[in-house]
Amino acid sequence: MKQKRRLFISRILLYLAGFFAFLVGLRHLWMYVVRRLKRESVQIFAGRISDMKEDVKEIKFRDEILLIIKKGGKVETFSSTCPHLGCKVEWIPSEKRFKCPCHGAVFDENGRVLSGPAPSPLKKIPTDVKNDEIMIEVGLYYED
């Protein structure tokens, strides 16, 4: 009798754990599909290259600082959010590197991880230059 009760309880717990895992998995799948489907973007004007006196220019967009970096005639834009734990990286002009003040991740001028615990490079924002005008492509929705 005692054995049966134990078996019953462990099966119930197993079913509950399975059900919970199924729900979590389903939600992740749903979110992935929704985000893929509704991704729409728009180009915004972010200044002129000829106005950039420093190598890096910061612009505020929604809750974010975007870092526009000038390399020769080319321009690239990165999110300032560290992919490690969300702190804001800063540009160190003398070292030509981005550094995260929280856990010390270091990125080069292409956003690649040089050292520290960051799991991936800085998020690159698609950028175009049209007649000296810097146009960056941002998501139409807040989360993008």
Partner: protein, 326 residues
């Protein structure tokens, strides 16, 4: 009533006169100091994303004796966690967690984790730069937990971003849920201590009342004086107002999170998240793990486990020293 009188007439082993063995009583008193000073702070604190900073500013710099109450609360919390660490180390070193006191250890371990939670939610309420970025990093850590991470992060933040909902949730946790759980687990811990006794029985005994009570009151008065002195010499400060767009240089959490902070700096993110979670489970269930280890691998296995414990303790101490200096 009879039970109460018996409880008050209880005799304690003389070893309890030694501060090293009476460390559990210190955080017990400090808990009441935290509740008491917390009630005073509640009179002036405004749990709003917009006004929290101003209200803490007012408490610290304008309201008469506000700095003292905030100092008692702030340094009291630090001392509370420090004493819990010391108590836990004493219990570990003297093997006081072994049978039949395993559950006493588990209840104590939960108390330590709750206290760290109280510390985190406490300094997240100030809404200065340290507070904001500590919340940010804390919720990102929660968000990096495999499978349930995003859900957990949204649950704490009340959305995708730190906002009024985050402050409300942390406030509820800090002033209601965590203190309530602390009170429940303190009661459970004390009941378990009474049921299974202490590990260091001595032949010579002395009465709980009045002798031990006087001793504890003396310790409490000493601590109150000590914290007041610290608050007067190093009054609690308030950093710059939170700026979600700019992380200040050299930002660090409170000292009791230094070991985790350093670990996160040294290892890849996934390891930095999974190892501490695993550690919490091992830490809470340590007496049972040690017993199983002894059954499977004999004394050698136990020795290995304890050596790992000592090395971990050394890492904690070195991490705290290192991050305090640099």
């Amino acid at each position: 009533m009879k039970i109460n009188i018996e409880f008050l007439n209880e005799e304690l082993p003389e070893t309890l006169k030694d501060f090293f063995y009476a460390l559990g009583g210190t955080p017990f008193f400090l808990f009441f100091l935290q509740v008491f000073t917390g009630i005073f702070l509640l009179i002036y604190y405004i749990p709003s994303y917009e006004s929290a900073y101003e209200s803490v500013y007012r408490i610290t710099y304008t309201i008469p004796m506000g700095w003292w109450i905030r100092g008692l609360h702030r340094y009291g919390a630090t001392l509370f966690i420090f004493c819990l660490f010391l108590h836990m180390i004493r219990v570990f070193v003297t093997n006081a967690y072994s049978s039949p006191r395993e559950l006493t250890w588990v209840a104590g371990g939960i108390l330590l984790i709750l206290s760290l939670g109280a510390g985190f939610t406490g300094y997240s309420l100030i809404n200065d730069q340290l507070s904001y970025w500590a919340t940010k990093v804390g919720t990102e850590i929660a968000g990096s937990v495999p499978l349930i991470g995003h859900w957990l992060s949204v649950l704490i933040k009340g959305g995708e971003r730190i906002s009024q909902f985050t402050v409300s949730r942390l406030f509820t946790l800090h002033i209601f849920i965590i203190p309530l759980l602390l009170a429940v687990f303190i009661a459970a811990h004390l009941l378990l201590v009474r049921k299974y006794g202490v590990s260091f029985e001595a032949e010579r005994k002395y009465p709980l009342i009045p002798e031990h009570l006087y001793l504890e009151i003396n310790i409490f008065i000493f601590l109150l004086t000590f914290i007041t002195l610290i608050s007067a010499i190093f009054p609690p400060e308030l950093g710059e107002r939170a700026n979600p767009l700019r992380t200040p240089s050299h930002i660090k959490p409170e000292w009791y999170f230094y070991p985790l902070y350093l670990f996160l700096k040294l290892v890849p993110l996934k390891i930095g998240i999974m190892v501490p979670i695993l550690f919490i489970f091992i830490f809470l269930l340590y007496p049972f793990i040690e017993k199983s280890c002894e059954r499977l691998a004999g004394r050698g296995g136990v020795l290995l486990l304890r050596t790992a414990g000592v090395l971990l303790y050394l890492y904690f101490v070195l991490a705290i020293i290192r991050e305090s200096i640099y």
